[in-house]
Symmetry: C2
Amino acid sequence: MVEKKTIKLDDVAELAGVSKTTVSRVLNNRGYLSDKTIKKVHDAMDKLNYRPNVIARQLFKQKTNLVALVFPTVDNPFFAELEAELEKRFDQLGYRVLMGNSQNNPAKEQDYLKLLLNHQVDGLIVGSHNQGISEYQKTTRPIVSIERFVGKQIPVVSSDNYQGGLLAVQRLLNDGCKHIIHTNYPINLVSPNELRQQAYEDLMNRHHRKPITYSVSFDVSDEEKERVFRKMFREHPEVDGIFADNDTNASLIIRVGKEFNRHVPDDLKVVGYDGANITRTLSPELTTIQQPIPEMATKAVELLLQLIDGKTDVKSVTLPVKMINSTTA
Amino acid sequence: MVEKKTIKLDDVAELAGVSKTTVSRVLNNRGYLSDKTIKKVHDAMDKLNYRPNVIARQLFKQKTNLVALVFPTVDNPFFAELEAELEKRFDQLGYRVLMGNSQNNPAKEQDYLKLLLNHQVDGLIVGSHNQGISEYQKTTRPIVSIERFVGKQIPVVSSDNYQGGLLAVQRLLNDGCKHIIHTNYPINLVSPNELRQQAYEDLMNRHHRKPITYSVSFDVSDEEKERVFRKMFREHPEVDGIFADNDTNASLIIRVGKEFNRHVPDDLKVVGYDGANITRTLSPELTTIQQPIPEMATKAVELLLQLIDGKTDVKSVTLPVKMINSTTA
DNA sequence: TAACCTATGTTTACCGGTTACCATAAAGAT
DNA sequence: ATCTTTATGGTAACCGGTAAACATAGGTTA
């Protein structure tokens, strides 16, 4: 077998007939350089197919140009679009992106944080739904959170969940729904998500209706979720409107509704939440509250860069949501 | 502001009252160590909240435990599920995963490869749809491709596209369709995908029907794709069956069909392709050919590890597909 | 008692760039 | 003719672990 040794900076210097220092100068565009030398060096690099070892540079510079994304899973329309948007922006800024799917498992999230921090990432964007992860308190590394309170000093980018809740429930009320049920994550999760439920309850109370919320965990199977929704239809046959906490659940509810002979929008109206691209392509009929995913990505990246630049007065932001009117409500 | 210096191995050694070597031995579980010493070292690490600098280790060991995924975009049901499955497996094996969304742009794919290789990734899994990327020829780094021919020596994991094509078209024929149209990527892409079209054409010819294929680029907007499908319905009003190259297109076709007053399954039957989880949750009514995404991920990881381990006789594999019967055909 | 195993320390080279510092020399400006 | 700017080289320290090589010493075993 051919012994293929790695081409290093010294090899380039030798072939180009210049010093190691000069090659480094060319690579980093530093100091005085003649066009002739630059060309010589580039030619040598091409000939040898030289690839600078980023690791060595990272070690010296104490900067990796790596960021990590920690979310429950990328296999979900909202997170997929968000991570794609984040990656696109980071790429443009010269950062590579590490993926961390925490599966909504606190132990896994903790492990991921530890591992990713060990990899000397320059920053993290987290949107996992666990709490009590001590790792966040231990590190001073830049972190921005999306739609979730993580710690006192960690800025949060969220959409206007209270407004989203109001829009959804108001829509159902306007459509004449008398018995509106809300589905949400287990509420022990400290998340701006909670505000959706708050809006639902406030609006229901204002209309002298009893708020009823069904909890559905994020990380269980579709079958498990459907079981909860069947229970919901059995326990509340009077239900005529549902404000679902996400579009996937809205879709499942519509399907389970059919089993109970309830058809949207005639005898059941459903409003979802998120309004991701994939969802709108695959379920165009769904009325939903759309989170401004691209804008959230932009803002999160912006805040993280501020932290990386050493800014200390980085503030959380809330972005407006939009109602997408379709035929399920 | 508090000057917070990075804790390094020497600091741990000093606090624990042992030598640098001993700490390194504890970290790497190497050589002889007494329980007492191990505890001392761990205590010191905890007290200092020491995080070994992975970069330094990577530099010395010439191993990063990083792999990169290069796919068009993660914001797509198939790739999202595939990348999630890949990440899960790599995580279990101690590898971190870098995300590279090439947007189906050859220049971007080339850039990504260069950048990710510079980051000294131990391997890559690619599933982008571009061709003529010279970078693949230049590197000797382990690469496994998914559903795409990249280069002579690069193993490919694909599902049985020919069989998938047969299943889909046979289903439409059995359902009594007389005028079946196929949609696919522009066929200049060298991809096992082509076999689906081959199966479609073979089966059509066998039944003395004229095969008609509409090309739809992957990376254009939904609106653009819908324009193509409208054109299709206008040019072929006789169409009564469609074999779409992916579920998203199937969904768009069904929607556009409604504009032309064609309703599935009564006056139009549609079979999609991919059968990803998200799609099946959001469009449960879609009849489709399901690719074995988890198995493909398992196989791709397995092959990549073989390459990383230096094996040379790593073979491409083809995995069976499955028909998901529902109501659109 | 010699031989061996266990448990640690010391020293040092190494991984592959980066960069500060100093030296040298030719071209251009004053 | 002197000063400055431009262009390059050489040397060495540094980033933070890793590990080979060798030394030392107490405990066990044949």
